[in-house]
């Protein structure tokens, strides 16, 4: 029998945060050196669900990699497939019909809203509020049902094809998407009153978890994390792709650098996504969804191709080095949460553990995408 452990003043102990069982889906381990409730040093340990997606991309033909891309980030899968199809289309010079591009933008934005909704619920649950998660999931369910009717699955869509889409959308989808916009705007007001105004919520986030713009640049953080630190960078605006230049939307930027700023950025991004969906539905042109001329076997010419897209979590880059065969020579994925997470070690030094967990929630980590 050993007695209680007495820690001497000035002595630190190691605390392991996080589940490590490989069968669970979000396996991130953080080794924290603690001085009482304060973090002296933190170290994130990765690799528990590494699945070698990059190597799989080199061993399989281009169409065969498509399902892999939606398994990187199970909450915003369409954004990642969008990056892949854009990169391969650019490499092999496939032209995409305009209707397909519009449908891609509409579905990607719907997926972004769904992803942010889930983040919103999970983030508030990290802080101890369970109810908002249920409301967020109810709204997200509406989007998932809508996307399921079109794509055929709920999370791992695999909807885009080189040159176009798998299925065309129908009138039912358009009606449901139109009905969704006012419904979601009403829900956002509800979330605002329920969560944003809440005194406990504000006290836990305001001025806590500072991530400076320098730190974002140092670690390569993108997306809502960088925009919450005053960096005005959005791939959709800075390096426009697809038909985004034809849409009128704003990029929310906050200078506060705290966890609350990142929360605001995401909540406002949902509103902007709704604006894009609304415009997309109005402008949706008629026409085919697959190009008339499309190579049967995709063999991009020899070269080095890069394509960045703005996913729900930040800038996702895909680099394809082609040697002219049907497999890629090098298939490199630059995932946004990997960079966003790597600043956690430095950012949480000297913080209290519950503030550090709030900070981690505000980074919006999806572990399968970090480990790839």
């Amino acid at each position: 029998m050993s007695g209680p452990i007495h820690i001497q003043p000035g002595e630190t102990f190691i605390l392991n945060v996080g589940p490590q069982h490989p069968a669970t889906h979000g396996v991130l381990r953080v080794k924290m050196e603690m001085d009482g409730e304060y973090i002296v040093k933190a170290e994130t340990v990765l690799g528990y669900i590494h699945r070698m997606h990059e190597l799989m991309g080199e061993n399989r033909t281009y169409p065969q990699v498509l399902p892999n891309l939606s398994r990187l980030d199970y909450l915003g899968a369409l954004g990642y497939t969008h990056g892949h199809v854009l990169a391969v289309e650019r490499a092999s010079g496939i032209e995409v019909p305009e209707r397909a591009e519009y449908i891609r933008v509409i579905t990607v934005e719907l997926n972004r809203v769904a992803s942010h909704l889930f983040w919103f619920g999970a983030f508030v649950m990290d802080l101890g509020g369970f109810t908002p998660l249920m409301y967020a999931i109810e709204d997200r369910e509406y989007i998932l049902d809508m996307l399921e009717a079109v794509t055929g699955s709920r999370l791992t869509y695999c909807y885009y094809r080189f040159g176009g889409l798998y299925n065309d959308i129908d009138d039912e989808f358009i009606d449901r998407a139109r009905a969704f916009i006012p419904r979601m705007r009403k829900s956002l007001k509800k979330y605002d009153a329920l969560v944003t105004g809440n005194i406990i919520f504000r006290k836990r986030l305001e001025g806590i978890g500072p991530i400076s713009a320098e730190m974002c640049r140092k670690y390569g953080a993108t997306g809502p994390v960088a925009r919450g630190s005053g960096i005005n960078f959005d791939v959709r605006k800075n390096e426009p792709y697809s038909v985004y230049p034809e849409f009128d939307f704003d990029v929310p930027v906050y200078d506060e650098c705290d966890s609350l700023a990142r929360y605001y950025v995401r909540m406002e991004e949902m509103e902007q996504s709704l604006r894009i969906i609304e415009q997309g539905l109005d402008k949706l042109p008629e026409g085919p969804i697959m190009p008339k001329k499309k190579p049967k076997l995709i063999k991009p010419p020899v070269g080095d191709y890069y394509q960045a897209v703005e996913t729900a979590r930040g800038s996702f880059g895909i680099r394809i080095v082609s040697d002219g065969t049907k497999n890629a020579y090098r298939f490199k994925l630059r995932s946004p949460t990997y960079s966003n997470m790597s600043l956690f070690d430095e950012a949480c030094e000297g913080m209290m553990i519950m503030d550090a967990l709030a900070l981690m929630g505000s980074l919006d980590l999806v572990i399968p995408e970090i480990d790839r």
Binding site: L66, N68, R71, G152, S153
Partner: protein, 156 residues
Amino acid sequence: MGAYFSEIFRGLQSLAIGLGITFKEFFKPVVTVPYPYETIKMSERFRGHIELIENEDGTPKCVACGMCQRACPSGCISLASKSVKYEVEVKGEMKTKKKKVLTTYDLNFTTCSLCGQCVESCNFDAITFSKEYNLASDRKEDFHFDLLNRLEERNS
């Protein structure tokens, strides 16, 4: 001192607003389904595991060309065929021709990622998605589907 009390007051007010919202939600209709007793019908495009499509006479449409096998990223389809001689009337003459007949079509559902590349690659519309999703078992062998057998079972 005044700021202190006004903050307490505003804090309590914000909590009351939140409680008001949850109270209103209390009277909204239920959105969930009591699952095992009631199930949701899958949408038409739902991608389940694959099934073979039959001709009018009950034989599979599949001509065993193996395109689905080659398109599959996970290599979970394996099929075998034998060539059969049959007689056909061409311009009033009887001629013997050969054709491939499917003998086995196995789907290893444990490694299938439900991407749908097999259905897309099929040039004969011989496979489709099943709408079945209530698949659960504690034995791995239950997910090695013999699709030809399933087709026969459906017909009988």
